[in-house]
Symmetry: C2
């Protein structure tokens, strides 16, 4: 692409660095911003810069936070003794959107994946183990993506927990998605969904 202005070219190149944004999309976004008020674009740019420089990570759950502790951990209405273990901030947002969960979170920052060079030490596992003890956790809910890395991580953390603990350890249910069709489900999902079948009364009660 040939540009008649280096200011335009630099802006397009910056946008094109973002994931999933090619040069053509970047140009479309930049030309859109060019049409906006100077003030609005100033706000856009300032909000992005502030977000990166001022955002903090919650020292309890490693979620993004405006202060030392995130809004979820600081909320006294939430059950601090139920901890949902997730991979990333995005998973927290997905679960929060269901408005069905009233506990707190712990963000691992990834899952154990030797092929990608990610071992337990690079994740917030040690902090989770300390937190379980300190906060007298009653339940640990694993909400990791259903794949080998996720299962390995669950297995690893479980082994690290004291054997004689009264901690309840659960994982979110795997099964056929709501609205999904049996014939298109893969065998693994279908098999797990059969193994973990529910009594119809409880199914009817929850739906």
């Amino acid at each position: 692409m040939q540009f008649s202005s280096s200011l335009l070219e630099n802006a397009v190149n910056e946008f094109a660095k973002l994931p999933g944004i090619g040069k053509k999309t970047a140009l479309r976004l930049v030309l859109h911003l060019l049409k906006q008020d100077n003030k609005e674009v100033g706000q856009f740019s300032e909000v992005i810069a502030r977000m990166r420089s001022e955002i903090k990570f919650c020292r309890r759950c490693f979620n993004v936070a405006d202060g030392d502790v995130c809004a979820i951990c600081a909320n006294s209405m939430r059950r601090q003794e139920v901890i949902c273990v997730v991979e990333s901030i995005r998973d927290v947002i997905a679960i929060e959107s269901t408005q069905q969960y009233n506990g707190v979170y712990h963000i691992l920052g990834g899952v154990i994946s030797p092929l990608d060079g990610i071992g337990p030490d690079q994740l917030h596992i040690e902090a989770l183990l300390q937190r379980i003890e300190k906060d007298k956790a009653e339940e640990l809910i694993f909400a990791l993506n259903p794949n080998i890395q996720g299962d390995t991580t669950i297995y690893y953390i479980q082994k690290k927990l004291p054997a004689a603990s009264s901690l309840r350890i659960t994982t979110i249910a795997r099964g056929i998605a709501f609205g999904g069709e049996l014939e298109y489900a893969d065998e693994m999902t279908l098999a797990r969904s059969l193994q973990n079948r529910l009594p119809v009364e409880s199914y009817v009660r929850n739906n």
Copy 2:
């Protein structure tokens, strides 16, 4: 979507204002930026703000420019007496990418479209007419999108030109796209492509 940080939420909202970017994509982009160095994000934000506040529009052709005149108009190697009339900056970039054009441009900033409330006065038509006279233009090439608004604009500008002028007025060829298939072309395109058929010698020479 529920966020645990207002800094994050504001950044996502700013990105989601961009065209074609929804909340989920905005979140993906913001979380990507969050993983980058503070310095890199600072650069992203500064380049965008500078682009908007410092960019100028060429006083001859209305293209984006770093100074008073854009790099194309300032280039003495280009034929200043051949003017290609386009709708937007994006069209200039598309034509420049072909590396086949050695004249200059004139950006109208839109096309005449009464339904959208865009009349000739909102476009850079008066400036074009003055420029044709002042720069002793020899050829005017219309490279507008092939639709009713584009055709109306060509017709309007043509009527405004002095009748006894030696100015050559052309429009880019409409026809079957290279690699396109006859049977899928619409009737209008096919009809125009038949009307404007070329002698085979000239076709072979150009390809």
